[in-house]
């Protein structure tokens, strides 16, 4: 690939991609206080990976985030979400009853906070992993994106 006439794109992307990923985590951990949550955060994280692969090629991306890893993350996210429900069941509550996760004094809501953060983390993993997997399935079938393809 001729890198010369994409130099501005590459430099800007190199500076932007870490900020996009960081913003994804901000959206996730700030989801209790502002718009956004695990779903949007997962999508933003996936976009940062996909943007990298669109600009620097799919092969280096697949070496950094392997397709197997993306699939495993997606499955882990779904299991994490379900796992919170099962833990609540084991601790004597209903399925996904976060109050049962942590016993604290009446009026306290630590269980709700922990439950919401953890299931949102599950959403983040499942969404980011699934999106990257879908992108790999589409883009992985052509070996390299040529300039004239745009």
């Amino acid at each position: 690939m001729n890198g010369d006439h994409h130099v501005i794109l590459r430099v800007v992307a190199k500076a932007l991609i870490p900020i996009i990923a960081l913003f994804g985590f901000y959206v996730h951990f700030h989801g209790e206080y502002s718009p956004g949550g695990g779903f949007q955060a997962g999508v933003i994280l996936a976009v940062s990976i996909i943007l990298y692969s669109l600009i620097f090629g799919i092969a280096p991306t697949m070496r950094a985030v392997t397709p197997g890893f993306a699939r495993a993350v997606a499955a882990f996210g779904f299991l994490l979400y379900t796992g919170v429900g099962v833990v609540a069941l084991i601790r004597g509550g209903n399925f996904l009853d976060y109050d049962a996760l942590i016993r604290d004094e009446p009026g306290g809501h630590l269980g709700q906070h922990v439950g919401i953060i953890v299931i949102e983390l599950g959403v983040l993993f499942a969404v980011a992993g699934s999106m990257v997997t879908i992108f790999y399935a589409f883009a992985g079938r052509v070996s390299e994106i040529r300039d004239e393809d745009w």
């Binding site: 959206v27 989801g31 209790e32 206080y33 502002s34 718009p35 956004g36 949550g37 779903f39 949007q40 999508v43 933003i44 996936a46 976009v47 996909i50 943007l51 669109l54 799919i58 092969a59 697949m62 070496r63 397709p67 699939r71 997606a74 996210g77 779904f78 979400y81 379900t82 429900g85 399925f95 996904l96 976060y98 809501h109 709700q112 906070h113 439950g115 919401i116 299931i119 949102e120 599950g122 959403v123 499942a126 969404v127 992993g129 699934s130 999106m131 997997t133 879908i134 992108f135 790999y136 399935a137 589409f138 883009a139 992985g140 079938r141 052509v142 070996s143 994106i145 393809d149 745009w150």
Partner: protein, 209 residues
């Protein structure tokens, strides 16, 4: 629209402007043949709708529309576009007219149905009187987090969200089942390149794999 009297005209102008932009983009998408331009325009369409959702005070929906519609869909469409040709074939004859008639009929029905909808922001509408008020009142003592949308999504409707995550995961799985993991063609090239790097690093060395 109580409390908004002074800015009613401004809000109306904003809505009209944004909706006209959406209309123009939609017409352009329908008339274009280049798939790349269509993908880019649909991304812009999502971005403008997200702006409009902000104007309607639906910030969470706007955020999702911006990240999913303008972000990931555009990237996925670009990836899918690489698998097919770059231009769409022009429709001819009856296939050109029938979709237009269907769209006009559906649009007319939707406009007719919208006459029965409560006014935007109406405090007496069903959405603002029964469950909505309940959530607003109960989130603070029961969940104790400031964002009611997150409380509804993750806690009150935790079961629904689990189902949605399952749907996303199943969608990823279905694409993989249909198209393959994406590493069959590319994994080979990656391994090939790795091998070349290894041989270049220690020329004449033994193949360690």
């Amino acid at each position: 629209m109580s409390g908004y009297e002074g800015s009613d005209l401004f809000i109306a102008l904003l809505n009209i402007t944004l909706l006209s932009i959406l209309f123009v983009i939609a017409i352009a998408i329908a008339r274009l043949r280049s798939l790349f331009a269509i993908v880019m325009l649909s991304g812009i369409y999502s971005l403008v709708s997200a702006t409009w959702f902000v104007a309607l005070d639906a910030v969470d929906v706007a955020f999702t529309e911006a990240s999913v519609g303008a972000g990931i869909s555009t990237a996925l469409f670009l990836g899918a576009m690489l698998l097919t040709s770059r231009t769409a074939k022009a429709e001819e004859g009856i296939t050109k007219i029938v979709p237009l008639l269907v769209v006009i009929a559906t649009g007319a029905m939707l406009v007719y149905a919208s006459i029965d909808l409560p006014a935007f922001g109406d405090p007496n509408s069903p959405a603002n009187t029964h469950v909505g008020v309940e959530y607003l009142e109960r989130t603070k003592p029961e969940i104790a987090i400031p964002n009611v949308v997150t409380a509804v999504l993750a806690s009150y409707r935790g079961f629904d969200t689990l189902g949605e995550v399952g749907v996303v995961f199943a969608a990823g799985l279905a694409v993989v089942l249909l198209l393959g993991f994406g590493e069959r063609s590319l994994g080979a090239t990656v391994r090939q390149k790795d091998r070349e790097i290894d041989t270049n690093a220690n020329p004449g060395g033994e193949d360690e794999r």
